[in-house]
């Protein structure tokens, strides 16, 4: 099933026969695949296929009812969302969840908080009371770590060209839809995650904004080739340009697991999307338009 891309890379994320039902709907039906470290995996499929549920389960927002999810050999499907994040999995949401009243800079700094106090991937540096005292008295060690985090946040803001940096003191609610998505991605990136989960990052973006986002993610791949990315995306053009591997889901199961080019031409995929084989030509045309 897996292709040559996956060879020789250690497995980062293992989805092991994971099932999740909502009432009578099976959103994930014994999902079973692995994501090697550093891979860019795209997950596509029609609405209701269970793509978002998959990301919700990996990030701990929803718990699977059966099966296991493992990160580097460690079982994570019973952990809290925040504990999973602290282990190096950062995510964005399908409906952008920014902190409306916080400024861009503040929002991104929230992402640095777990690194600041430690825990998860790094040794714990500050307990609640030591942090309270350090913050109250502005102790030098704490201040230095805050300053380093600020520098990191600035670096990430600048990655998005003039989209975020000049607006860094604007409150999130005042941002455009596309900028809210960028802000969410920035908040995840500032954590320098090992695994980045993107839930429809290009949704609601116009073609030029989509191209710009694609460039940013491609650039990110160049800077951090070791970062594993799992992206749910409806815009197949983005998938073709960025992903190394593409999983197509339908009704809670994986129907195709191939390279993007291979997967998107697969007749089973076309059938899942459009229902008939006859429409294959039309589907190919839609694909080309992105």
């Amino acid at each position: 099933m897996s292709t040559s891309i996956t060879r020789a890379r250690p497995e980062a994320l293992i989805i092991d026969k994971v099932t999740r039902r909502f009432g009578g709907v099976v959103a994930a039906n014994a999902l079973d695949f692995t994501v090697p470290q550093g891979e860019f995996l795209a997950v596509v499929g029609p609405n209701g296929a269970g793509k978002s549920t998959l990301l919700q389960m990996i990030s701990g927002v929803i718990r699977p009812q059966e099966g296991e999810i493992r990160l580097g050999g460690r079982r994570i499907d019973r952990l809290h969302t925040e504990a999973i994040n602290a282990l190096g999995i950062s995510r964005t949401f399908q409906t952008s969840r920014v902190f409306p009243m916080l400024t861009i800079r503040e929002s991104i700094m929230v992402g640095t908080q777990v690194g600041l106090i430690g825990g998860g991937r790094t040794p714990r540096r500050y307990g609640p009371v030591t942090e309270l005292i350090s913050a109250l008295l502005r102790l030098p060690g704490y201040r230095a770590r805050v300053a380093a985090a600020e520098a990191r946040a600035e670096e990430v803001m600048k990655m998005f060209g003039d989209r975020l940096w000049p607006r860094q003191n604007d409150q999130a609610f005042s941002l455009s839809y596309a900028n809210r998505r960028r802000l969410e991605i920035a908040r995840a990136l500032v954590q320098d995650p090992d695994i980045l989960l993107l839930d429809e990052p290009a949704a609601g973006m116009n073609p030029s904004e989509t191209d710009e986002l694609t460039d940013i993610i491609a650039e990110l791949r160049r800077i951090r080739p070791g970062m594993t990315i799992v992206m749910v995306e409806h815009k197949l053009q983005v998938v073709r340009q960025l992903a190394e591997r593409c999983i197509v889901m339908a009704q809670g199961t994986v129907i195709v697991d191939d390279t993007p080019a291979g997967a998107l031409e697969d007749p089973r995929v076309i059938e899942a999307y459009l229902g008939t084989r006859r429409s294959a030509a039309a589907f190919g045309k839609v694909n080309a338009d992105g």
Binding site: S59, V61, H80, T81, E82, N85, A86, S90, R91, F93, T95, S96, R97, V98, F99, P100, M101, L102, E106, S107, M109, V110, G111, Q113, V114, L116, I117, G119, G120, P128, E131, L132, A135, L136, R138, V146, A149, D170, Q171, A172, F173, S174, R180, R187, A188, Q191
Partner: protein
């Protein structure tokens, strides 16, 4: 022994039927409008007092009761129209505080109209007695059971058979779909408030007959008990409300029989808390308790748990103007106020000034918790009280010098806040307000009833002020004024340091979107405990200063009224804004002094100010942060 047990059970079952009636009113409004209606108790009180008044004017009770029910029904509908419908798209704190403001206005108005005294309520049926072994049931008990069962059966039929009932249930399940089907959803919401009013009035009359008395402050405790019963039964079913009501009645009846009458309400509110924490969907319910009021869509499609986002006008994508003075300016203003004793020797002014400083500290403490971290606290007076009692007891019982008592009071209140509010971490939406209200009531009742330690309603007299500090005699009123200003300055410095640190930023992130905070790796519980500690510490300092100023501590200073005044202060100033908290705190602390002739209207004024603010200037005077 067994006889006492049996008679307590019987008493519990009977009063439990009344709780079930109140519970149904709560469930209806919660189901249809998705808010917890704190004014339910006020409607209950209104129904009882209207009946009481008409009977006193010579009307037969059988005529008075239906008229009272009709008037209360209309009042319930009016409340929905005036205080809730305008807030349909407001953040969820708005409708919650709106019903709370109405409760407090009714409560205070009733005290002015009917006096704060307990009044004898006509109960013609209580002279008929039937013995059951050594226990007995009166005619009132039978009336309660018969009326309750009749009303519940009628309500069940109405909801399942009539068009109106079906429309009501459709609205509860999916307001958008109901609208598409041609159901007038706002009318259904109003109708549910009317029904809740009718049920409340009926319950009020039955309670009046059962205890043969009524009192203006009965609204809040009975409202809370009704909610406890509804919650216990699972909020969604009529049989659930009956079972919940009866169980609650039996619990508290046993408590009053075996522990003491004073502990009756402590047990009832503890049951409420326990259910909220352990089994928030109740014994039979399947509906998850997540009352967010009008929050959804409040911010133009941005998902948020913020109590302030749309208060600040965060829908229009325009920047709001916020007045936030720098720390040094605030400290300079406090220093200017310190000159007051030099300019005027008036003891009255100093007394008022010290009070205002204490309230300002409390407002700063509360705005960190409710404004910045988004934890709606309607029990904040509890930590004020813990601080005051700790300071008083430290000097009187343990001989700790008053200077050290300050620190002790702060730490005691911080620990209490962290421990008592810990369970609220898992709660969401309106239920946090409900839980904190219950916690506030429990702490007040414990102070009132734990006579061995607190001396109960008599209070603790002779609290010694700190004696000599840096060569200044701290016993004088002038010194107390300065001391209060120093406490205020310390509170402002701490609040500023916290809000401008990563910790304060994290609090605000948790307030704005808790799920996003979790997903960003923020250990949410840890930061909520930190805000409980800091907020509790500051409230404790205020409590100690209060004890020293008054030389006396008694439970009545820490009633729910105080908590609500504090909320009015921070909403007036602008949630989460220190400058705003100081302005709101000082203004509202001075209000009763400025309007001395109208001092008795104080609570009505606070309630009205809160109500008007929520409607017309939710961002407060200085703006939310």
């Amino acid at each position: 022994m067994l006889e006492l047990f049996l008679s307590q059970i019987l008493n519990g079952v009977v009063i439990g039927f009344v709780y079930a009636l109140i519970a149904l009113g709560f469930s209806l409004v919660f189901g249809v409008a998705n808010i917890i209606n704190f004014a339910q108790g006020a409607l209950l009180m209104l129904g009882a007092f209207l009946t009481f008044t008409m009977v006193r004017l010579g009307a037969p009770i059988a005529v008075a009761i239906p008229i009272a029910i009709v008037i209360t029904t209309a009042t319930g509908m009016l409340i929905e129209r005036l205080a809730l419908r305008p807030l349909q798209n407001a953040p969820y704190i708005a409708p919650l505080l709106s019903t709370l403001a109405i409760a407090i206005i009714f409560d205070a108005a009733a005290e002015m109209i009917w006096s704060a005294e307990i009044q004898a309520f006509p109960s013609p049926l209580s002279k008929y007695v039937v013995f059951v072994g050594s226990a007995y049931l009166t005619g009132v008990d039978f009336l309660i059971i018969a009326v309750s069962l009749g009303v519940m059966a009628g309500l069940m039929l109405f909801l399942s058979r009539s068009w109106m009932g079906k429309a009501l249930r459709a609205t509860a399940q999916d307001p958008e779909a109901a609208t598409q089907m041609g159901i007038n959803v706002p009318l259904m919401r109003q109708f549910s408030f009317g029904l809740a009013g009718a049920l409340g009035a009926l319950a009020g009359v039955l309670i009046g007959m059962y205890y043969m008395s009524v009192f203006p402050q009965m609204g809040i405790p009975y409202g809370l008990k009704g909610f406890a019963a509804a919650l216990l039964g699972g909020l969604s079913s009529i049989p659930g409300a009956i079972v919940g009501g009866i169980l609650l009645g039996i619990f508290e009846s046993l408590a009053s029989g075996y522990v003491g009458e004073g502990w009756r309400d402590v047990i009832a509110f503890s049951v409420l808390l326990a259910v909220l924490i352990v089994r928030p969907h109740g014994l039979f319910g399947n509906k998850s308790l997540d009352a967010l009021g009008g929050a959804s869509g409040a911010t133009g499609g941005i998902p948020t748990t913020s109590v302030v986002a749309s208060m600040a006008g965060a829908t229009g994508r325009t920047k709001q103007r916020v007045l936030e003075a720098p720390l040094l300016v605030l400290l300079a203003v406090i220093a200017l106020f310190a000159l007051l004793p030099v300019l005027s020797g008036s003891n009255y002014l100093l007394q008022v000034g010290t009070q205002a400083a204490i309230y300002a500290v409390l407002a700063v403490s509360l705005t960190l918790l409710t404004g910045s971290a988004g934890v709606i606290s309607i029990g904040h007076a509890a930590f004020f009280g813990v601080g005051a009692y700790a300071a008083a007891l430290a000097g009187r019982n343990w001989g700790i010098p008053a200077e050290a008592a300050f620190l002790l009071a702060g730490i005691a209140a911080a620990v209490f806040a962290a421990v008592l509010y810990w369970p609220t971490i898992r709660l969401s939406g309106h239920t946090v307000g409900l839980a904190t209200l219950a916690i506030g009531q429990i702490v007040y009742l414990v102070c009132l009833n734990w006579v061995d330690v607190t001396r109960g309603p008599m209070g603790i007299p002779g609290v010694q002020r700190p004696s000599l500090l840096l060569g200044i005699d701290m016993k004088s009123l002038t010194a107390q004024y300065w001391q209060a200003l120093v406490v205020l300055a310390i509170a402002v410095i701490i609040a500023f340091a916290m809000l401008n640190s990563p910790i304060g930023r994290t609090w605000r992130a948790i307030r704005e979107d808790r799920l996003a905070a979790h997903a960003s790796g923020v250990p949410v519980s840890r930061y909520l405990v930190l805000v409980f500690l800091v907020s509790g510490f500051l409230a404790g300092l205020a409590g100690a200063q209060f004890a020293f100023l008054q030389n006396f501590v008694s439970p009545e200073s820490f009633m729910i009224d105080t908590s609500i005044v504090l909320i009015s202060m921070i909403v007036l100033g602008g949630l989460g804004n220190i400058t705003g908290a100081l302005i709101g705190g000082v203004l509202l602390a001075m209000l009763p002094e400025v309007l001395r002739e109208f001092a008795e209207y104080r609570m009505v004024a606070y309630g009205a100010i809160l109500l008007l603010l929520l409607r017309f200037r939710p961002q407060g005077l200085a703006g939310t942060r």
